[in-house]
């Protein structure tokens, strides 16, 4: 306990990673919002029509994180019916 009182959470996280230790600090939302890991993976996202920051898509596909498509409550753009039929295959 005395040892842990001498290091910050971020130091514990960084050094724990370097030493391949099992263990994580107890984060606040501020810690999460500034986590370099999430920043590197561009997890937090904004969308047109909103000044707010959101959690981004939960998966990365072929190296790219899908963009958030619209702000909460905003209308969802849909492809014209004819185009959807053309691009579709088996249901």
């Amino acid at each position: 306990m005395k040892f842990f009182a001498t290091i910050s959470k971020r130091e514990f996280l960084t050094e724990g990673h370097r030493r391949e230790m099992l263990g994580y600090p107890v984060s606040t939302v501020a810690d999460i919002a500034t986590d370099p890991q999430l920043e590197a993976r561009q997890f937090f996202a904004r969308v047109a029509g909103s000044a707010e920051t959101f959690c981004g898509a939960f998966a990365i596909l072929d190296g790219k994180r899908p963009a958030l498509r619209h702000a909460p409550g905003a209308p969802v753009a849909t492809a014209p019916r004819r185009q959807r039929q053309r691009s579709g295959g088996q249901p």
């Binding site: 994580y24 107890v26 939302v29 919002a33 999430l38 707010e52 920051t53």
Partner: protein, 406 residues
């Protein structure tokens, strides 16, 4: 075993890895008919087989683990020694046969084994691979090893759990693994759907940490918007009072919440204290929060004289959100779970009759099932490699003599 057609019949799934986060995805797919093969070896079995209790009759053994059984029913098990070049070659043949690979190794391990997505997708372009790990495949801490029980702390869950003046509380079990595996299953199915339409698979990178943050989205959004730091507050809630667990007869507990003044009035009437709803000390949310101790004392006096089931039933009948705090034993006697066949007994070669857990969702026209018990380690080598992959007898014997099925 169901005789009805299943939604995922014909889908061929391969799993590399172990524990919960990867295998739980494969289990859900297997329950709906996907032919799911769990790849391990005698030297490197799934960690759940040997590391975590409970074990049948408290004796540790590859085929005696309750944890392994929980996440691996309805699958086949094969053993392939990936340290041998011939083992890697055999794994590639399996990958050519399948539609979807789920792996939860540390990032880079599949590539180092010669089983990276690009290599496997070259001869099988429709292949979908889902990689799930603590941090995701990229980023400065991508290779950090870890388990869900501690990852829940990094993702903010533990800091929000506990009383304000006390320490953060660790959650029961690898909570975040369940968030990530349910999201992972939906991503995998969407990618398979797209692959069948387009002929092109993809690699899905799932970070269990990021999946867990979906659970924290409200608190994070509040922080970004206002700078407010969400704090743990015991059982209290900003928008509900009362909101907590109350002692009942025989050491039982009931959890209840009132999210409006009308719900509180219903609770007050149910406990025989209708006057509380008009009392300025309790009528409105802020007043109830200010007089929390007095209010909880009154409610506890009522709950203590009842069983948890009776208290919950009376409150539910009045429109108040309430449930008994159920023990493990209580889950197995819950009539609701029984009616929905949540637990299904299947006979395991070593553990005997064992209760398996069905997913919390089902399909009306193509219902899922616990197709079979969790497999014994390597039990399906013959069937998978001869009948599914189509090895000739000479090939099978060659792999066997090289110790590939180790």
């Amino acid at each position: 075993m169901t005789a009805l057609p299943q939604a995922l019949a014909g889908l061929k799934v391969l799993e590399f890895g172990g524990y919960a986060a990867g295998p739980h995805i494969g289990k859900m797919l297997a329950n709906f008919g996907a032919q799911t093969i769990h790849v391990e070896s005698h030297d490197r079995p799934d960690g759940f087989r040997v590391q975590y209790p409970p074990f049948k009759d408290d004796r540790v053994g590859y085929n005696r683990s309750g944890c392994f059984a929980f996440f691996n029913d309805s699958k086949y098990s094969v053993t392939v020694d990936l340290k041998k070049p011939a083992g890697v070659e055999l794994a590639r043949r399996l990958a050519k046969w399948c539609d979807l690979i789920i792996e939860n190794m540390r990032p880079g391990v599949m590539e180092r084994l010669g089983l990276g997505y690009r290599m496997l997708a070259a001869p099988n372009p429709r292949l979908v691979m889902l990689s799930t790990c603590n941090m995701g495949q990229t980023g400065p801490r991508a290779d950090q090893p870890g388990f869900g029980s501690q990852l829940s702390a990094l993702a903010g869950f533990c800091g929000m759990t506990g009383v304000p003046d006390g320490p953060p509380m660790l959650l029961y079990g690898p909570y975040i693994d369940y968030v990530a595996s349910l999201l992972g299953a939906s991503a995998a199915l969407a990618a398979v759907f797209k692959s069948r339409r387009s002929g092109k698979g993809c690699h899905i990178d799932v970070s269990q940490y990021e999946c867990g943050l979906m659970f924290m989205a409200g608190a994070l959004q509040d922080y970004f918007a206002s700078g407010r730091l969400a704090q743990r507050r015991g059982n209290d809630d900003a928008d509900a009072a009362p909101h907590g667990a109350f002692p009942c007869r025989d050491g039982e507990w009931v959890a209840l919440s009132c999210w409006s003044d009308a719900e509180f009035a219903a609770l007050a009437a149910t406990i025989g204290k209708s006057g509380l709803a008009a009392d300025p000390a309790f009528a409105a949310l802020a007043a109830r929060q200010a007089h929390r101790v007095e209010l909880e004392t009154v409610i506890a006096a009522w709950t203590r004289s009842r069983t948890a089931d009776a208290a919950a039933e009376a409150l539910q009948a009045a429109g108040v959100a309430a449930y008994p705090v159920v023990t493990m034993a209580g889950l197995f006697t819950d009539p609701q779970l029984h009616a929905r066949r949540n637990f299904r007994v299947r006979r395991h070669p070593e553990m005997g009759d064992h209760c398996y857990c069905f997913p919390g969702f089902d399909l009306a026209e193509t219902p899922g099932d616990i197709i079979g018990p969790a497999p014994c380690v390597g039990a399906d080598n013959d069937f998978v490699f001869r009948d599914l992959v189509g090895l000739t007898e000479a090939e099978y014997e060659s792999y066997r003599s090289q110790g590939v099925f180790g």
